[in-house]
């Protein structure tokens, strides 16, 4: 069954222009992505054992996806044996309903959350707010964009599009709403201190916690959470009720598989052996323990994932959400996450968004936001064949007639001319004539009919030379023979 994904309904050119005009975002995204790419390369070079682990992990993860139904069953048995509750949500809406029911049955008044892409995918916060249950994001970046009512612009650095002055404004407004003392200045240190004390009170007060999950281990019934801030530790330790919402594809077979893969997100994401905090939950707290939830619910989300099994796109389900493909992508580096219009940006996003939704959501992504440079392929620690998938998706889009008729006509015409040398030569002479007629000396921009007009708007199109190389060569040869 196709999944449901939220999206930005502005057309791509509008999203693109908005992104390109946002200098703050472009500066930070440019800086962050290049640095992450650099340190990722460095740490794998200096840790050959972890490069070996990575290769093993890829094979094990592929097998786990093939065995997904059995492994999910095993995971559920394991954690239920320890007193946790598990659910399988077929679609986004089901996951939201289950989570809401849990919150309502406990009359939850404040929910605290650690970062989770799948809850962005199912729009959990919006549903809770609508039901009158406040949800507080506690990852610093997520907290900032929650105040700004925005979506993440990067998987790992959700607020990378906002600078310190903009963050201070948001915090000032928050402080006056909450009647607490505002940040002392717009220094990043002071802003972080404000968030710490503001969120600390909510951590201690909240009656329900929500987490995502980096890995599920079928053999042991373990959920693994990775953060640098320690907020997932707060969420798993303090509230009496914990709900973990996790994509079904996060599963690994056994402890040995976890051992191979557990360091890969930090290695590929931030260039460290481990993030500052790795937390493993095995069940509700045992009586007498100081921390941990009395009740633990795990919602396993399908939302279009299971349908990708046994297809050529199956390897997409191995993604560990490290962000390495985003960081390496020359398109992402320029436009950042918002321009994609999906909760999943970057190369993995342009593949997953149409796939999870059976092309219902943003089918133009694989065509519009990729240069086929293959940098993502090289960056992906899970060896996901992103460029191949992008090409394949472009084929599917044509086959399923998802392009507009103008686009199809233009591309067919172009293909007809350029698929033979004669056609190519004719098109060049035609362009030369058009260029002369239009009186534009500089370049051939604005000469294009149909879709090409739009194509030319955002590209520097070179001037058509008065003579092609072949023509010049022919003339040169003839002159040489005359001599």
């Amino acid at each position: 069954m196709a999944g449901q994904l939220p999206y930005d309904n502005r057309p791509w050119p509008e999203r693109r222009d908005a992104a390109l005009q946002n200098q703050t975002m472009r500066h930070t995204i440019g800086f962050v992505t290049r640095r992450f790419t650099l340190i990722k390369g460095e740490i794998y070079r200096t840790s050959p054992d972890l490069e070996a682990s990575r290769k093993t992990a890829v094979g094990q993860k592929r097998q786990a996806i093939r065995d997904l139904p059995q492994l999910l069953e095993q995971f559920r048995n394991q954690v239920e044996r320890r007193g946790a509750h598990t659910y399988l949500a077929a679609q986004a809406q089901d996951a939201v309903d289950i989570a809401l029911n849990i919150a309502r049955s406990h009359q939850a008044e404040l929910v605290i959350k650690s970062k989770s892409m799948v809850t962005e995918e199912i729009e959990l916060n919006q549903a809770f707010e609508k039901a009158g249950i406040p949800v507080r994001e506690t990852d610093l970046g997520e907290y900032i964009i929650q105040l700004a009512k925005e979506r993440p612009s990067h998987i790992l650095a959700p607020a990378a599009h906002r600078n310190r002055h903009q963050v201070e404004e948001l915090f000032q407004a928050d402080a006056s709403r909450e009647k607490i003392s505002p940040p002392q200045s717009d220094e990043i240190e002071d802003l972080t201190r404000y968030a710490r004390s503001r969120l600390r009170q909510e951590f201690l007060r909240a009656d329900m916690g929500v987490t995502g999950g980096n890995f599920l281990v079928a053999e042991t019934g373990t959920l693994v959470l990775i953060t640098n801030e320690g907020n997932a530790d707060m969420v798993t330790s303090l509230p009496p009720v914990l709900v973990s919402i996790v994509g079904v594809e996060k599963i690994v077979r056994d402890w040995a598989s976890l051992t191979e893969i557990i360091q890969q997100p930090a290695m590929s994401g931030i260039g460290r052996h481990l993030s500052s905090y790795t937390t493993m939950i095995q069940g509700p707290k045992s009586p007498g323990s100081v921390e941990g939830p009395r009740e633990w619910h795990v919602i396993l989300v399908d939302n279009g994932r299971m349908a990708l099994r046994d297809t050529e796109f199956e390897d997409v389900l191995s993604c560990i959400r490290c962000g390495a493909c985003l960081n390496a992508c020359p398109v992402f580096r320029e436009v950042g996450g918002h321009a994609y219009g999906s909760v999943y940006p970057g190369p993995i996003g342009i593949v997953e968004t149409p796939l999870l939704t059976d092309f219902q959501v943003l089918p133009e992504l694989p065509s519009a936001l990729c240069t086929l440079c293959h940098a993502c392929q090289e960056a992906c620690p899970m060896d996901i064949a992103l460029p191949d998938h992008i090409i394949s998706l472009r084929h599917t889009i044509v086959k399923r007639h998802l392009n507009s008729s103008t686009v199809n006509w233009t591309l067919r015409t172009w293909a007809r001319f350029w698929s033979t040398p004669g056609g190519y030569r004719r098109s060049i002479s035609l362009a030369r004539v058009m260029q002369r007629l239009s009186g534009k000396k500089r370049n051939a921009q604005g000469l294009f009919p149909g879709i090409f007009a739009g194509w030319g708007q955002t590209r520097e199109i070179p001037q058509v030379a008065p003579k092609t190389f072949h023509e010049w060569w022919q003339e040169w040869k003839e002159r040489a023979e005359e001599k």
Binding site: L140, A160, T192, T220, D233, L274, S276, T279, Q282, G292
Partner: protein
């Protein structure tokens, strides 16, 4: 058991690479000096005490004989809610650990009845005490150890936590800041046998 100097050095390097700090001690008096300095530097008071959990009996004894009144050592007989409040207000938290891994510069803590994770999480300073013999060479060995411990114990601890550095973020303009939600400073106190 003889301590492998190579492993010890590697742990120190990686732990410091993760922005952690190190002390070496061999006996009770040294621990007390280290802790007195930390208490002075971090404003320990009646309102902001030191909270302790998960130490071996010998080390807990070292702490008890230290002449410091604002110290709370978790005892499973005590009220959990009260200890939680103490942790929320505490200025320094002290814990033991189950094992430490040299190549990742990390320590692993199990949440059990007699060992709470809160002292490692809520106060701005976390001091983790490690016996040199607890340090394994690779994180992989640590993971094996965790698996064995859980199997032998018959039941998995509800929560397991691996710490590799202080709480940190680079969410605003990509600038690294320590101490977001968890501790700003993490100290490893290595006790040579």
């Amino acid at each position: 058991m003889a301590v492998d100097e190579g492993i010890l050095r590697r742990f120190e390097e990686e732990w410091q690479g993760n922005a952690g700090k190190i002390f070496h001690i061999v006996q009770a008096e040294e621990l007390q000096t280290v802790l007195t300095d930390l208490a002075d530097a971090n404003g320990v008071s009646d309102q902001n005490p030191i909270v302790v959990s998960g130490l071996s009996e010998k080390w807990a004894q070292w702490i008890r004989t230290w002449n410091m009144k604002q110290v709370y050592i978790w005892n499973p007989e005590d009220e959990a809610e009260e200890f939680r409040h103490r942790c929320a207000d505490a200025s320094v938290g002290i814990t033991g650990c189950a094992w430490a891994a040299a190549d990742a510069g990390s320590v692993c803590l199990y949440s059990q009845k007699d060992s709470s994770l809160l002292p490692s999480l809520l106060p701005p300073v976390h001091v983790v005490m490690i016996s040199a013999a607890q340090i394994v060479s690779t994180f992989r060995e640590g993971m094996d150890r965790l698996y064995r411990d859980a199997r032998q114990g018959g039941e998995w601890p509800a929560l397991v936590k691996i710490v590799a550095g202080p709480s940190m973020t680079a969410d605003i303009e990509g600038q690294l800041i320590l101490g977001v939600h968890g501790p700003r400073d993490v100290y490893a106190v290595i006790v040579d046998n």
